[in-house]
């Protein structure tokens, strides 16, 4: 799936602009960004809820607006605004079974039974955790190639969260399906995703392969004699934290040469810390204003 130059405006305000990325089959991609950065807008635009102001979305090089039948490969349930509350799980099953031609009814029933969800239950009466679990079951049973999951772990307790993640990983590992997951729970996301898309300033600013990041980037804790941050550090890193003279910084392209140059500055402390997705998020988005929407 390719997202090219996608722009969406609301009431003359640009929410996302010139968004470009592609999703390959079989990968799990995280979409990370601050509140109001346009993650949900991007999902809704891909799913067809919102009309595009510019750009195109295609699957197998065919545009979704011209070949809407390709949308059967997409699964998305809006987190906030959906119709599920009005129905029982049995009725919802009917809807999704009809909507997705490859819906795996046996798998659906099996998952429902194994997680103790009776079909007669009303969606409205379920706890938030159970609703999240149920939406994941629907997503998996839909057999859609591209799963768009907006905050799937939001509000789930640790037990349900582990169940949901387990379910997702098990399903995706067995098939050639792709998941694009927006989540604030970066600790969880880090262990699931292959790639992270960083949405900032209304567009995708970074596309990181976690493996490459682990190879190329470093998180260092440094203490220098002077309170001033040396220009070399400013030039090559993104500051995560500064407490007195203690700096914690993320170096995107960390090389042996750079390490040697830093050592030449004679730091009092030079320590490598474990790099997490949260660091990446913090280093890149620390300066971005919190936007509503």
């Amino acid at each position: 799936m390719k997202i090219e130059h996608v722009t969406k405006k609301m009431e003359q305000t640009t929410i996302i602009e010139n968004v470009n990325f592609s999703l390959e089959k079989g990968e799990i991609v995280g979409l990370i960004g601050r509140n109001g950065s346009g993650k949900t807008t991007l999902f809704r635009t891909i799913a067809g809820h919102y009309l595009l102001d510019d750009g195109e979305i295609s699957i197998d090089n065919q545009r979704l607006d011209q070949y809407p039948q390709l949308k059967e490969q997409l699964f998305y349930i809006d987190e906030k605004e959906n119709f599920l509350s009005a129905y029982s799980l049995k009725k919802l099953n009917q809807f999704y079974r009809l909507a997705y031609p490859n819906f795996d009814q046996n798998l659906y029933l099996e998952l429902m039974q194994s997680h103790g969800l009776p079909l007669t239950l009303s969606y409205r009466r379920m706890s938030k955790g159970m609703q999240g679990l149920y939406k994941m079951i629907l997503a998996i049973a839909s057999n859609a190639t591209f799963l768009l999951l907006d905050e799937p772990f939001d509000g789930l307790d640790v037990i349900v969260r582990k169940k949901v993640i387990g379910l997702l990983l098990e399903s995706l590992s067995e098939s050639n399906r792709t998941a694009l997951i927006a989540s604030h729970n970066l600790n969880e996301l880090e262990h699931i995703i292959d790639r992270a898309l960083l949405i900032k300033g209304k567009t995708i600013e970074g596309d990181y392969r976690l493996e490459t990041i682990r190879e190329q980037s470093r998180k260092l804790q440094l203490v220098f004699r002077s309170k001033q941050i040396p220009p070399l550090i400013k030039q090559h890193s993104k500051l995560i934290q500064k407490q007195g003279r203690v700096l914690t910084a993320l170096f995107d392209n960390y090389t042996e040469e750079l390490a040697a140059e830093i050592q030449q500055l004679d730091p009092l402390v030079f320590e490598e810390l474990p790099l997490t997705l949260e660091d990446l998020f913090e280093a890149n988005l620390r300066q971005e204003a919190l936007v509503e929407g």
Binding site: M10, E11, T41, R44, A47, G48, H49, Y50, L51, P68, Q69, L70, K71, E72, L74, Y76, D78, E81, N82, F83, A86, K91, Q94, F95, L98, A99, P101
Partner: protein, 386 residues
């Protein structure tokens, strides 16, 4: 797939609606023949014969100038009273078994079904599910329209035919003065009116998005629509005054037929109404295709239509309310009736105030967000100046 989804979503409700439509026509037909038979029994009773003989002066057949002409016998009166014509005679007074208020219920019901069939899916977020399906908006609209429209139209046809069948089967033929062909054509005219009303409701259901102001507008439309006859009469009289210099021009044909009483639209008007229904449905489809769901809670689901809808709503409502309140006609009544002492300034002032009210209320309906933003900006400015 779509038809099955719609079956899951609306199936039972649609069956219910169809039964209501059938029930309204069939029950009205049954009530009509029942009323006729009650009338027949009464006109054959001793009580009636006694009353007729004792109070002959009440049983007026017609007027010869100022002089009343009375019925000669109970049989003559009975025949006149029980005969079903398509309209009241100016000269003969009798009970009309076709009289019903059910036509108003059918019209309001169809308008509401048209409106709700699209409005509810917007408000309950079912459109979010539909828009994510592997179909174009055009396909979703078309399938939904067929799913709801076809059975409903079939029930309207069945209901109309059933209504006619009950009356023509249960009332002796010699009392039915309207030819069956006319009644069937009248049913066709009624169907055209019904479809026009349904299509109007449907367009509003697609176009309006706000739960409060959208529903308010629909009730407003129904309330104003119930005064449609006054509006039509006043408008006809007004333009008759303007173009002919007198107010008594009558159209030689019916412009609104909502019950199969025997009235028939001229063929061109029938085609016009059917064409208008088609255009409204086409407009609804175009609007549906352009809906982007970030606007689904706004008064209008398509922001680009705000300006044209605002002007149409405000000026249209102003014209409608002006007409049903007779304000423009008073300009001509001043010359027509002695002692009609109203100045032109007075009329202009009332029309002007009504226009301002319509412009203001329409502004509140169509541009609530813009007004709120303006209000907050103004308030913030005041606070920052302190």
């Amino acid at each position: 797939m779509l038809s099955n989804l719609f079956k899951e979503r609306y199936g039972k409700l649609l069956i219910g609606f169809c039964f209501v439509v059938l029930f309204m026509y069939i029950s009205a037909g049954w009530q009509s023949q029942k009323a006729w038979h009650q009338q027949e029994r009464y006109l054959a009773s001793e009580e009636f014969i006694k009353d007729f003989n004792e109070n002959r002066e009440y049983y007026v057949k017609s007027y010869n100038g100022e002089t009343p002409v009375y019925f000669d016998s109970t049989a003559e009166y009975r025949d006149a009273a029980l005969t079903i014509n398509k309209e009241y005679s100016d000269e003969i007074y009798y009970n009309h078994p076709y009289m019903t208020t059910m036509n108003q219920f059918v019209i309001v019901f169809l308008f509401l079904i048209g409106f709700l069939s699209f409005f509810v899916d917007g408000r309950t977020h079912f459109n979010r599910f539909l828009f994510a399906l592997p179909f174009s908006r055009k396909q979703v609209f078309g399938k939904k329209l067929l799913f709801i429209g076809l059975p409903l139209t079939a029930c309207l046809v069945l209901g109309l035919l059933g209504h006619i069948l009950i009356e023509y089967a249960m009332i002796p033929a010699r009392y039915l003065a309207v030819p069956l062909q006319d009644v069937l054509l009248s049913a066709l005219s009624t169907l055209a009116t019904n479809l026009l009303v349904f299509a109007t409701g449907l367009l509003l259901g697609v176009l309006l998005g706000n739960l409060f102001t959208g529903v308010l507008s629909v009730f407003f439309t129904i309330s104003l629509g119930s005064m449609g006859y006054s509006f039509f009469q006043c408008t006809r009289e007004f333009f008759s005054f303007v173009f002919l210099g007198h107010g008594d021009f009558l159209l030689p044909f019916q412009t609104w037929i909502d019950w199969p009483q025997g009235y028939v639209y001229p063929w061109w008007l029938l085609l016009l109404y059917l064409g208008l229904s088609g255009l409204l449905i086409l407009a609804a489809e175009k609007v549906f295709s352009k809906i982007s769901l970030e606007n689904d809670g706004d008064y209008l689901t398509i922001p680009k239509l705000r300006a044209p809808v605002y002007w149409l709503l405000s000026l249209g409502t102003w014209f409608y309310l002006s007409m049903i309140s007779y304000y423009p006609l008073e300009i001509f009544y001043r010359d027509l009736y002695e002692g009609y002492d109203v100045s032109l300034w007075n009329i202009a002032l009332r029309l002007g105030l009504l226009l301002v009210a319509c412009l203001f209320i329409s502004l509140l309906l169509v541009y609530p967000k813009a007004l709120m933003n303006w209000w907050y900006k103004r308030k913030n400015k005041q606070v920052s100046n302190i």
